[in-house]
Symmetry: C2
């Protein structure tokens, strides 16, 4: 599988034929002793070379005084010595041609400027020889396929995981091992678990890419505080998507408090959480809200059933649970369409007091006649045609008097509908649960958790079916100015990119303004025109609803006076006279350059919707009109554009066109473009277009 | 404890000295056999009288042919025979003076009109003799204190719960037993578990009241689809609050889909979920979102530490987990203030690379020197003074090389701060977890779940500290008309209750209107005036911004013409001329009569905020100005009233006064008042008041 140089280095890291342990300890409870003890216990297939100048043997293996004394060049090395010695060891390993090193050693970038400099030296040493680094300040990694336990986690004191299809990559060592330990305690099968620490070189994204190609990994679980290399990360997500490997991620830092904590915790760039959220969604990555949700999703994903057009059918012995599940599905956005009328009628004939709509409540009566489970299940999956089924049998499913006959019914259903996702809610002893699992059912105790996981499978299904994230036709390359342009210039520039402003004229005198207003039609808006004044309304530089020529003349003088007072140094070019639009819905369209993911577009309704309610949609640029329209329709306030409260529906296609064009322009512009704000944009009634009433373009000062 | 007649009947139901089982079976797996088998196995302290005409003995006990043959009047009875026989048995039991019966029998109100009639006959039989009923269609109840297992749940095939402080009352049998079974499987101590089925007589509310007085129950867990008797339910919640017994409830039917499912499931009145939510909040009841959250909260509540002014301090070995917890606390609304500066400095001196702010990240270094846990914990609880602490040690806390020394440190902390809520996040084997629990720590694997449960304890604490829900001074008793009044009448009536409308005059002629407008000042609003036209704007009966006298005259004729066309039968009284208010924030204030909880007040911002965003606050009437102000400040759009975007802050005290007065009027009005809508109300800038620009009062047609 691995094809590139980078892939080869990662393979050396995860499948080394030989590994040196620098700072090896004979004490299996010490940091330098734990990996050796674990590898010996798990029968690591490769050769282990303990490096320790003080002992002839370590845990029964011959030890070597230094890296230079090793009988061969190890594929990989574990470095478990203090910082200064770590640098020397890395140098020796690099000289010998070792492909990759795991640095347990802490005391680098996480400790301030001096540590950061030392870390930079490690990277420089490695780069010179094409060596890759995990860490420093990493808890290491493990690979269950070959018993390579390059980690000193104390978690192994309580046992080893069963090999299986779930791989874990985590920036945080302790939290990554928390995930690992919970998964192991739950009996989940794991392929590998990797903690990237300071990410001086290799990042979580690199390991997502590796797992996307690893034949032993089918489901990828990740933890991240901040994404460093946007392009590599997105390429990894795309690779996983293409290989139909679902990625579920815990990306912390949703809240301001959380972001502050992340920044105090590591030097990581927490980034704009809403941007990250949008980017993850674009690639079909599911962002888990809690640790258990992450594990639930990973566990269910190992069934490898990813419904497209996911719908949920519920069969329940408890009406109450049916209501609970309906609430949870509604909150998640997982559709639960009703059963076909004819099927409902047939079920009613079979069991007069059932509730056959969906949830299908077959009542506790089925426990007296378990063949009803088969008949109701057949109706649900056959006639109902649901892509996913949640079957709620609670404690009854685990009652010894019921379990065997229930299993019989369920196994028939499972074999008749192999492509459907089937989740059982039963409370049973572990051996019974394993039986149900072996029969092809994922088992959950809490129905709400089951719903969240089922919903995630549908999101994976959509992403896998959608094909690669396609870039739309590139936008025109505009002649961006060297500095932030005036409003009139900004609008001219945007117009050349197909973004329409409200009719307006730049006027250098009061008379010119009065004439322009007369030709545009009253009322008009007057705005001070200066490339040096970005936020005009803050200095009183905008007059709305100016009704006639006399008022335009007065207004011109007033604005020039105010601007001269408020910004004496600003170059004043006159006043912009624009037709005052009415009858439209005020919107905000913008792009800003995210330091990780490049230009990101924003859509929202004007004023309070953005500023107070934060009701906005974001998307990485560029994108087409269909994606733009989906963004527009995704905000909470969208009904206002769709004709709520007796208004005419707004021209959403025109808005979508403008938004997509903005994204194309911004993408083509490169890093010199810091931001564009169109605020307000008037979305006129359907068929009448959308017009930017103001435009501000910011050019980055320090861009190339 | 029990003092009333009702209490005595419930005690007979839960602590019977003797119980008859009508339809008793010798087969311990049959419905009529299960309760007897369970009581024999659990050593039920009372006498068991199996009733079965076909057998001389049942499961080793002497059996009786009929109720008349019983050697004594049983305190309680279990009825497990078909519907027709059930009625006869109930009759016999009532004749003998049995206090309470548990009806397993199904086939009543849940089966349509005929069943409902049969159910009504059961209630009538019981009422005549003062007998109380559980069910019909109930899975029964159990009481661990005396081994009374009046239930046929198959859950008991997998074991019995340990006795303990948590009581469960559930309308749904299967879901109630799901809760019970999960709790038992988790080893949670239970006092009782009750399922109320069709609630022909006794309801979940009745059992909440009973548990509020039961010395064996300290924490109340409940499930409800719809509340039937609002007054009894609220009295039960108040009793629980007064006795410092937390109530955590799963109230399903949040979504439209869920409510539809609830209605198809039982005859229960699902009610307005938002109203129920507001009422539960008022009494400090915590509404759980998932089954596990409910059990988490119940489990943590058994610690009986209910912080007032809850704050969370976090000590963590994982920076990543600290960020995750910060996000979860932020989402829950649980404050995490920073550590005092001096304490931070001291911790930095102790451990240079710690992050001491809060979360306090003591790093994995503490695992090398566990005394750091004691020092950091002391700083957190002593100098930090947090009411709740979350201590994250993940798998390390469960590592045999670490656990004993960690426990030692933690026990010291626990004994030094007995009043603090302390939650441990560790992954450990069950015996280690039990040790930590015995040491006084609640243990969670998932930190997000821990945060939700800790937050709930603070909400209980606030409710217990707040004292009883006090009714404010009663409002004036207005002379409500017999039928829905015109707008002018409505405003006069409300004015007599202290609710101020915008200045306005009712005018019978165009000239009168022009004169009124001149004296009020232009522009004005014109509105058709008729008691028969409630929704004026729907027939074009409102003109805004009428600028001068001529336009007023024209407008008068136009409105009379439109009204005559649109509603030929309506009595037209002329036109209302009102000063057009400007510069205020448009709000909506209203009350409507909820069928369960009586009048409920609503506050929201005008237009899209209510209609599209559903951004409203609700509260049961009556309430004072402080509660009204809290409602106003609780909506998402509140910043708009507080001076967002450069606006002047609105007169919130005037709004609060109006809202409270509305609640007092509505409460005093009784059931004849269906609703009052004040829409819009203009909240003017601070100090300038709030004015209702329109008022609609609806009088119930069928009210007494």
């Amino acid at each position: 599988m691995p094809q590139t140089e980078a892939d080869a280095a990662l393979s050396a890291l995860l499948h080394p034929r030989s590994v040196a342990v620098v700072g090896a300890s004979d004490d299996p409870s010490r940091i330098g002793g734990r990996p050796i003890a674990a590898m010996l216990e798990r029968g690591f297939g490769g050769r282990i070379f303990p490096v320790n100048p003080k002992r002839p043997s370590i845990q029964g293996l011959p030890a070597f005084a230094g890296v230079a004394d090793l009988p061969e060049t190890p594929d990989a090395a574990i470095i478990a010595v203090p910082p200064a010695a770590a640098e020397a060891a890395l140098q020796d390993l690099a000289e010998r041609g070792t492909r990759a090193a795991i640095l347990f050693t802490a005391g680098f970038a996480e400790m301030g400027a001096e540590g950061a400099a030392a870390q930079a030296r490690l990277v420089a040493i490695a780069r010179r020889r094409g060596m890759r680094l995990l860490g420093p300040n990493s808890l290491g990694l493990l690979n269950t396929a070959n018993g390579f336990y390059g980690t000193f986690t104390s978690s192994l004191e309580r046992g080893y995981p069963v090999p299986g299809p779930i791989g874990i990559a985590s920036q945080s060592g302790a939290y990554g091992m928390h995930l690992f330990s919970m998964a192991r305690d739950l009996g989940m099968g794991l392929s590998c678990s990797i903690t990237t620490g300071n990410e001086a070189d290799l990042t979580v994204g690199d390991f997502i890419a590796w797992m996307a190609q690893d034949p032993n990994t089918e489901v990828i679980a990740a933890y991240s505080e901040g994404i460093r290399d946007g392009d590599r990360f997105l390429a990894a997500l795309e690779l996983a998507r293409r290989n139909r490997k679902p990625v579920v991620i815990m990306k912390v830092g949703r809240s301001a408090l959380g972001r502050a904590a992340a920044q105090s915790h590591t030097a990581s760039l927490a980034g704009d959480d809403a941007v990250t959220d949008a980017v993850l969604g674009e690639f079909g990555v599911v962002r888990a809200r809690t640790t258990e949700e992450l594990l639930d999703i990973a566990r269910l994903a190992t069934r490898k059933i990813y419904p497209v057009g996911n719908t949920l059918g519920v069969l329940t012995v408890s009406g109450g649970a049916g209501v609970l599940v309906s609430d949870a599905a509604d909150a998640a956005g997982l559709p639960m369409p009703p059963m076909p009328e004819a099927a409902q009628a047939a079920l009613h004939r079979d069991l007069p007091f059932c509730a056959p709509q969906n949830p299908v409540d077959c009542t506790a009566q089925v426990l007296n006649d378990l063949t009803l489970v088969g008949r109701f299940g057949e109706a649900l999956l056959g006639e109902g045609g649901y892509r996913s089924a949640l079957l709620f049998f609670t404690h009854a499913g685990g009652a010894p008097s019921i379990t065997p006959r229930l299993r019989e019914q369920l196994r028939t259903l499972r074999s008749r509908y192999p492509d459907r996702l089937m989740v059982l809610c039963v409370l049973a002893d572990p051996p019974q649960i394993r039986q149900f699992e072996d029969d092809g059912f994922a088992v959950f105790a809490d129905p709400s958790r089951a719903v969240a996981a089922i919903h995630a499978m549908g999101r994976f299904g959509e992403a896998f079916a959608a094909g690669p994230v396609q870039a739309p036709t590139p936008g025109p390359l505009l002649e961006w100015p060297d500095a932030t342009p005036s409003e009139a210039e900004a609008k001219r520039l945007l117009a050349s990119g197909g973004i329409v402003a409200a009719p307006e004229r730049a006027c250098a005198s009061a008379e010119e303004a009065a004439a322009a207003a007369a030709s545009l039609g009253f009322p008009v808006v007057l705005k001070i025109l200066s490339r040096d004044i970005l936020h005009k309304s803050e200095i009183g530089g905008v007059l709305l609803g100016v009704p006639d020529a006399a008022a335009v003349r007065d207004g011109f003088e007033l604005l020039m006076h105010r601007a001269a007072e408020a910004a004496p140094a600003a170059r004043l070019e006159g006043v912009l006279v624009a037709k005052q639009l009415s009858g439209g819905v005020e919107c905000i369209l913008g792009v800003h350059r995210d330091p990780v993911f490049g230009p990101v577009a924003l859509f929202g309704l004007g004023g309070i919707f953005v500023e107070v309610l934060r009701d906005v949609a974001l998307r990485r640029c560029p994108f087409g009109e269909a994606e733009a329209e989906a963004m527009i329709r995704s905000i909470r306030g969208a009904p206002l554009l769709q004709g709520a409260r007796g208004r005419p529906p707004a021209d959403i296609p025109a808005l979508a066109r403008m938004l997509s064009r903005l994204s194309l322009l911004a993408h083509a512009a490169g890093p010199r473009l810091a931001s564009i704000d169109l605020n307000p944009v008037f979305a006129m009634p359907a068929g009448e277009g959308a017009f930017a009433a103001d435009a501000v373009i910011e050019i980055a000062k320090d861009a190339p």
